[in-house]
Amino acid sequence: MRATTLRNRVSGQFWWAASVVALLLVIAVLVAIFGFVISRGLPALKPSVLFTVTSGTSGGLANAIAGTFLLVICGVVLVTLIGIGTALWMVEFANPSQRRLVRFAIDVLAGVPSIVVGYFLYVALVESLGWGFSLLAGAISLTIIMLPFVVRAADLALSGVPRALRDGAIALGARPATVTFSIAIPWAIPGILTGLLVATGIGLGETAPLIYTAGWSNFMPSLAPTHSPVGYLTYVVWTFISMPFSDSHALAYAAAALLMILIFTLNLVSRTAVDYWVLRTRGG
């Protein structure tokens, strides 16, 4: 490379400045979006909104809040079982080529557009199996969306269990299952938990896969797994902002603010609490 000329120095300084400006710009846009949602949403988030159900295009969000929680909880339960099971199989049982195959499948699944998952489940579960818009169909769609996040996190966490720890347990006469359940899983729990929290945030914010699986309902969700549509918060944001009434706009802002607060809190918890836990248990 040739020695630095004045021109190179000046253009270098220009591009460094441009990169910092780009960074500030991106942060500014995020702050603007966040500020916009919170400033419009918080005034609309009255207690009455939290405890009354939607009626037509006004009323409250109680049904959507309950529905979102119900869908996400069911989805998280399913994804915990499937995701951790998948990761454990990859790390503890699979041979390298099987592991590659499952990793490939997970990468592919992560790239499938969520509306394709939604439409597939609409055709398969809602129509062909005749479940109708329902809690179970919605929860399954969230499970498929969340699965890659959980598997990747759990795979990474379980692969990181120190060899010495496993060898030590085996040398002490532990059975393979004991090594898995008493050594590997406890060690990997913080990483797995972070993955689950990230996935929960994704599930809270999803819309496209739910539209034609969970449907929408103005009423509090029944606990019936099928044949009973469920409302959720992102639906309110999407549809109510396009209506010509200020009541429905207020509900859309309130739902958006609520989602942002929930996701922000989850993010904060996964960053701080999990780090703290790792420090505590591993004596950092």
Partner: protein, 344 residues
Amino acid sequence: MDSNLGYAGGAPKARLPLLQRIGTQRVVRFLFGSAATISTLVIVLMLVFLGIYAFPAIRFNGLGILTQSVWNIGDQYGSGHVVRAGITAMQGAQFGGLVFVFGTVVTAFVAMLFAVPLSLLVAVALVYRVPPRLRPLVNAVVELMAGVPSVVYGLWGIVVLVPFIGQRLGPWTTEHLGFLPFLGGPAGSGNGLLASSVLLSLMAMPFMVATIRDVILAQEKSIFEASMALGSTSWQAVTKAVMPSVTNGIFAAVLVALGRALGETMAVLMVCGGAVGIFAQNIFQSVNTIAAVIVSQLESALTDPTGLAQKSLAELALMLFVITLFVNIVARLILHGADRSGEA
């Protein structure tokens, strides 16, 4: 690493007595193995199910789904039918997806035009210019941005971005810069290509920034330092030495982001303008994407008694699936190649 076995608690010998009698290992292996097959199974089922379901539409539409731009579910009130390739549809039914394919590709492409250079700049600033003390904070901001739901981007798009484009940017640009390609002609309402692409680029950036930052950090610092020692400026060291060594990682990140932009639904649906049967003539006009049209057209498709409209949407979904699958596989191949060259 201190092997701290203490927290493993009492050895759970008594926890699984029954399982141990019938062979814990085998049962556990079976359970975990079945969990692991689910991801593969879902992908195969998705392809097969959508394929079988869409098959009548594939036969009826033929290549028209890619070459025609008219989407019409047919005359619901007439009694006439058309039969093509042995498939019955309502009179006048035509399912051309060209407008949606065009919109999908163009919105994602324009979004990448914004997002790729910006993400490169931001990632470089993050690695080399943000003081170490501020780094966790900035990283947290980037991560938080990745977690913002797409409907929230869409909400901001509808209320802030679309009026700005429709009332200020669009009219001003078409008037003063209208002689440039894709900038002339009617500015439209603000709902359209530009609004969709801006939202898509905002949504793509956190992932790209984080990934590019990570591949740069994973490269040895020595490349930067060696280049500096050879007398280059710091910017030259970054662009001429560090960046070329991580091109594969950057390409893969861009492709994964592109795949997501192609399939993004809600934000685009909210600001794209929902074009049916018309192509945008400039960056301000209304467009539509495959993902958005699946949501916006399904309700009317359900009124088609022959079911062909619904099946044509499934055909579009299948197409979107195949496109994103292709993009992601290419991304993986590039990354895989990068891994191997890293080992060598």
